[in-house]
Subunit: 325 residues, 2 copies
């Protein structure tokens, strides 16, 4: 079994060894650019770990890992165009560097490349199962992005709506990465499905934790500006739960606070955080995260392999900020 950082290194060197067509350069350069921006490579590492869990080698999961990481980066590329984001991982976004048309086209090719990587599996049954997993996650990611954009509008958003959105947009691909890795390692469909559920619930916990830390994290550790979601009026789990629990007066106050966008919003952030705290939203959210974590790990436990070989997946969950209880 390899550690998280060993698998990150293995993946990156595998990625670098792949030679893409040199031409047309304008099409492939932006792909190399975004793929080399780095990141934690969580999804490919998950795929490789999941493969190892069933006795496979990381190399067996490499093509699936490339598929899932290329797909993930395709979504980042196109989402950055939709969000008009200037920066990604501290560097220029693809569309800022190469133009919007180029960003659209190179992103399209990345989506196709994700499917093509799976062709490296000669077994047609395995190929079919992997393609099904990728496609199901891919549809969910698009639907999740659609809900996310729709929630920025005026319509009412319920907590189940929100949970479905983050499940589709974030958790489904993590789940698919684990499922695909398991399949490349020779897991049964049932065991691969347990890992899918582990990833799905882990993804939900991870996203809710991200929501919580965005408002209540330690600024030193969180890495992003605390309060960003509040200042952007983002209807996260915290906001939606507060709306549910607040009395009429406080609810009206929250709705009003979330209807303006100001540049200088330190007082808005502290007012909203005060409301969240008075309603015990942080503790409640932590409880929901714990519930998802617990459920996630129960799916990992259900897999009938030596317990020590699950250690690296547990370590990875901890790196995501999600702990077993």
């Amino acid at each position: 079994m390899h550690t998280v950082s060993q698998l990150q290194d293995l993946f990156v060197s595998g990625l670098e060894q792949r030679t893409r067509p040199a031409e047309p350069a304008g099409l492939y350069e932006p792909i190399d650019y975004i793929m080399s921006l780095g990141g934690k490579r969580i999804r490919p590492v998950m795929a490789m770990m999941s493969c190892e869990l069933f006795g496979g080698r990381p190399a067996d999961a490499m093509a699936a890992a490339l598929a899932v990481e290329t797909f993930h980066n395709f979504t980042l590329l196109h989402d950055d165009i939709m969000d008009e984001a200037p920066l990604r991982r501290g560097r220029e976004t693809v569309h800022m560097r190469y133009g919007v048309s180029q960003g659209i086209l190179s992103g399209d090719l990345m989506l196709i490349m994700s499917y093509k990587y799976l062709m490296e599996y000669p077994d047609p049954e395995l190929f079919r199962a992997l393609t099904a997993s990728l496609s199901d996650a891919a549809v969910k990611v698009c639907e999740g992005q659609q809900w996310d954009m729709a929630f920025e509008g005026d319509g009412e958003v319920t907590i189940p709506d929100y949970l479905r959105m983050i499940e589709y947009k974030t958790a489904a691909l993590l789940a698919s990465a684990l499922e695909m890795g398991a399949l490349t390692g020779g897991a049964s469909a049932a065991d691969a499905r347990e890992l899918y559920e582990f990833g799905r619930l882990l993804g939900l916990a991870f996203q809710l934790l991200d929501d919580l830390l965005d408002s209540f994290g330690d600024p030193q550790k969180f890495g992003k500006k605390v309060g960003g979601d509040i200042s952007r009026n983002k209807k996260t789990y915290l906001y939606l739960k507060a709306i549910e629990l607040a009395d009429e007066h406080t609810r009206a106050q929250l709705v009003d606070l979330y209807s303006h966008q100001q540049a200088e919003d330190a007082s808005k952030i502290s007012t909203v955080k005060g409301i969240f705290e008075s309603l015990e939203i942080p503790a409640h959210t932590r409880g929901v995260i714990d519930k998802y974590q617990k459920e996630a790990f129960s799916h990992l436990e259900a897999i009938n392999v030596d317990d020590s070989s699950k250690k690296s997946l547990r370590d990875l969950a901890v790196q995501l900020g999600v702990r077993e209880h």
Copy 2:
């Protein structure tokens, strides 16, 4: 064997019978919109005809036909964004009607849907062969679009460059539609490849004919404004061949004419057409088209099925303006 128009009707009713998820509506509405804009449905008809050639029923090719038509419409949708085109088939383009972000995301989902349609084939070997065909064509379409955009710049374009561009951008998907249809009809890989070649060469002939008619077609029949490529300075086969054949003076004149963009360009169009005619470009182009046509039909002939069953594919070629000689 069904006629072209019977298969068009079969395809459209098959398309209409498919119920897509109702939600999120914002994601699926633009897809329904562009898929219902019509067009000749050449690619799905090709897939169904090719299937029938080997004794299959049109219904056997339906999922492949949906895949190829959905893929084709995805490329139209994203190309329209890149070209900032306001109209498609006389109607608003998707991004004009629903916004650029929505156009990008709905197009992405259409690409994924293309792959998902192929999952309807339960046989894993067939599924794999179909997915390989779609992916190969899909990469070529992106590369062709890249070359097409690159040719708008200042760099020199050779005739082989141009022929590769139209092969990738236009012919590859026609070829794949025929190949996929053949595979769903139970054709051998070799026969499916003959149909691929038939489609590839037919596509080249079709695109060169389109170039020719754009400058020398009958305005009543062509349907588009004659001279559009000339007024947009598009480096088509006609232009590139003229550059190759012209003396130094005429070449400089052509390069100069293609370096300005004017609103009122009737005199430019007639000057360029005069140069093309003096260099016998129309006759030369017609000769190249004939060569591709002949080669295309030789691949159709090579397939060992009853000759009369090839009639509908020949009729379809005629509808594309391409005739057997």
